[in-house]
Symmetry: D3
Subunit: 131 residues, 6 copies
Amino acid sequence: MATVRLLSDEEASAEALAVFDDIRAVRGTDYVNNFWRALAHDPALLKATWERLKVVMAPGALDPLVKEMLYIAVSASNGCEYCAHSHTASARAKGMTPEMYGELLAVLGMANQTNALASALQVPVDEAFQA
Amino acid sequence: MATVRLLSDEEASAEALAVFDDIRAVRGTDYVNNFWRALAHDPALLKATWERLKVVMAPGALDPLVKEMLYIAVSASNGCEYCAHSHTASARAKGMTPEMYGELLAVLGMANQTNALASALQVPVDEAFQA
Amino acid sequence: MATVRLLSDEEASAEALAVFDDIRAVRGTDYVNNFWRALAHDPALLKATWERLKVVMAPGALDPLVKEMLYIAVSASNGCEYCAHSHTASARAKGMTPEMYGELLAVLGMANQTNALASALQVPVDEAFQA
Amino acid sequence: MATVRLLSDEEASAEALAVFDDIRAVRGTDYVNNFWRALAHDPALLKATWERLKVVMAPGALDPLVKEMLYIAVSASNGCEYCAHSHTASARAKGMTPEMYGELLAVLGMANQTNALASALQVPVDEAFQA
Amino acid sequence: MATVRLLSDEEASAEALAVFDDIRAVRGTDYVNNFWRALAHDPALLKATWERLKVVMAPGALDPLVKEMLYIAVSASNGCEYCAHSHTASARAKGMTPEMYGELLAVLGMANQTNALASALQVPVDEAFQA
Amino acid sequence: MATVRLLSDEEASAEALAVFDDIRAVRGTDYVNNFWRALAHDPALLKATWERLKVVMAPGALDPLVKEMLYIAVSASNGCEYCAHSHTASARAKGMTPEMYGELLAVLGMANQTNALASALQVPVDEAFQA
C-alpha cells in the first residue's frame, strides 16, 4: 500500500492524464507504472518529474543502459524497494544480461564495503585527487 | 586526519608491503593512495580488500569505466567524501569526459530525487516488475 | 512481521501498560500503534522513547504539523517504511492538506537531488555560511 | 576542495552566466554560492536544477521557512556537509530563531532514533495507517 | 519477491551447489537461506561472498555474537529489511537474550540520534580525538 | 566549523554548565568535547541528550566497549565524520585493541556489502526468520 491511493486513468485529472499519455507514447506501451499513479495527486509534481526524467535518461554521452544501471546502484544504496524493482526491470528491457547484472552487483557490494571502511577510518583525501 | 595513522612503506609490515607492491604493479604507478595506507594496520583486511577489488573492477561484461561510474554513484549516495574524490579521479583516468560526468551527475540527482519520492509515498511494486 | 512479537495489552507488563495508557490519554484514542507494541518487550526503552517523543513533538517555537512534516522528511530520506506511513497518517490528522503534502514531496525530492549533487561534487562550504 | 574547479564569472559560459544573473536577481544579492559554481561546468544541469529549485522553494501551501527546515532535515539525515551549512544559513536568513533551530534539531534527533528502532524491529505497518 | 528467482538445489549450478553444501556443513543445518539462493545466479559472486563471510564472522578478537550485533546495527542504519531479520535470527541463535537485544536497540536509537545532531550541527572534530 | 559557535564555559548558561559539570564528573576528566559545546545553545536538548546517553551507555547486559563499537558501526554506515572520530577515541579509551578494531572494520565492510546485495536483489525474508 502507498500513503496515497494510486489513481486510475478515470480518476486522474486532465493534466495528469496528459502526462500518462506522454509516458505511453515515449515508452511505446500502454502500461503506466504505480510510481506515476501515486504522483498523479499533484499534477505539477508529476509533470516536472516526468519531463526531467525524459531528458536525463535519454541517450547522450552515456548509454541509456548505463544510466539504468547507475539508477540501480543509487537505489540499492538507498535501500529503496520500489526503485530497485522498477529500474532492474527497465535495465533488463534495455539489454542488461545476467552477466552484466552479476558484475553490477559485485561492484555495488564492493563499493558499499569500501565506502564503509573509508567512513569508519575517515581517510583524508590524497592531494593527488584534487581537481 | 584519519582515525589511524597512515603507514609509510617503512612502517608497513612485510605482508602489507607485498600488497602495496601489487597495487603498484597492477596500476603501473608508484603511488599508493591513503585508503590502502590506512588499511595497512590490518594486513589481512588490506589483502582481502585489494584482492577482491582487483577481480571486481577488472574488464568483464561491463567496461571498467562504467564500473568506476557505478562506484561514484554509490559513493555520492552514501555521502563518502574520500570515495567521491578517489573514484572521480579514477574515472577520469579511465576516460570519463566532462560530458559523461555531467550526465552521471544528472542521473544521480534524478535517482536520489525519485528514490525519495518513492520512499515517502511507499509506492507498492507493480506485478509487472516481478522476476 | 517484526523481529519480535507485537504485545497485546494482556501480554504487556504493568510498566509497559502504564505507557500504553498514557499514549491513549495524550492522543485521545484507544488505539496504540504497532511501534509501541514492539518496543513493549523492553519497558524502560518504551518509556524513555515515549516520554521524550511527547516533549519533542509538543507545540513550541514550531507548530506540531511542521514537526510531523520534518519527521516525514527524515523517514523518506532513511527509507523507513513504517515511519513514512505512521507520520504521514499523523500529519494528515493534524491538518496536512493534499497541497501541503505535494509541496512537501517536491521539497524532499529536490533536497535529495541537490544533496546527491553536492556529495558527488564535494562542494566546499562557502565562508559566507560560517557561523 | 571539490571534484571540479569552482568557476568564476569570467570562466563561466554565457548560458551559465545567465543562470548566475538570475540567482542574483531572485535573491537580491551579488553573491553566488559554491554549489552553483561547481554545477556551472554543465550549464544544462545548472539551469535545470536552479529553475526547479526556484519553483519548489517559492511560497505556496507551505511557508518558505518551513521548506528550508525540511531541507535541513534531509541534509542532516544524508550527512551532507555542504547542504547542512547552506540551508542552515538560508533558514536563518528567512527568520529561523535559535528556539526554532533547537526544536528542529530535537525533532531530527528523535526521528532518526525512532527510524532506527522501527528499521531494526521491522515493525509492520498498522492497517489504520493505510490510505 | 526478489529481482531474480531464488534457485532451488536442482536449479543451481554445480559450483553454486558446492557453496550451498559448504554453508550446510559450516552451519550444521540443511537450511540454505534465500540470500544465497538469490546470489546463486552468479556462482563466482556467491562463492566470493560466502568465503569472505566465513572468515569475517569466525571467532577472533571479537566474539561471534558481538559480530552479529554489529551486523544488526549496520542493517538497521541502512534500513535493510532482509538483513535486519536474518541477523537478528542469527544473533538469537548465538545467545542474544531479550535484555541484550533491548540494550542493542537503545544504543542504535541513541547513535542515530546523535549522528543526526552532529551532522546537522556539523560539529568540528576535537584535536583530542586525532590519531 | 559548525553551524553554531561552540560555547565556552564562560558563554554557557547555568543550566548548560551544570550538564558540562556532570559530564566531567561522570568521565573523570576536565575535557568537554565539541558536540556538547554545540548543543549548549539549547540547554534542554543538551540535558535530555546527555541524560539519555548516560543511561544507554552504562554497563548492563552489554559491555560498555561493545556499546562503543556498535556506535562506531552506526556512525560509519551514516558517514558521520564527527561520530566516527569521537566513538573510535572512546572505544580505544575503553580497551579496544588494534586486533579488535581490525575485526570491527571487517564486519562493517562485510555488512555494508551484503546489505547492498540484499537491497539490490530485494531478497524476500525467509519464513524461518519470523519471530
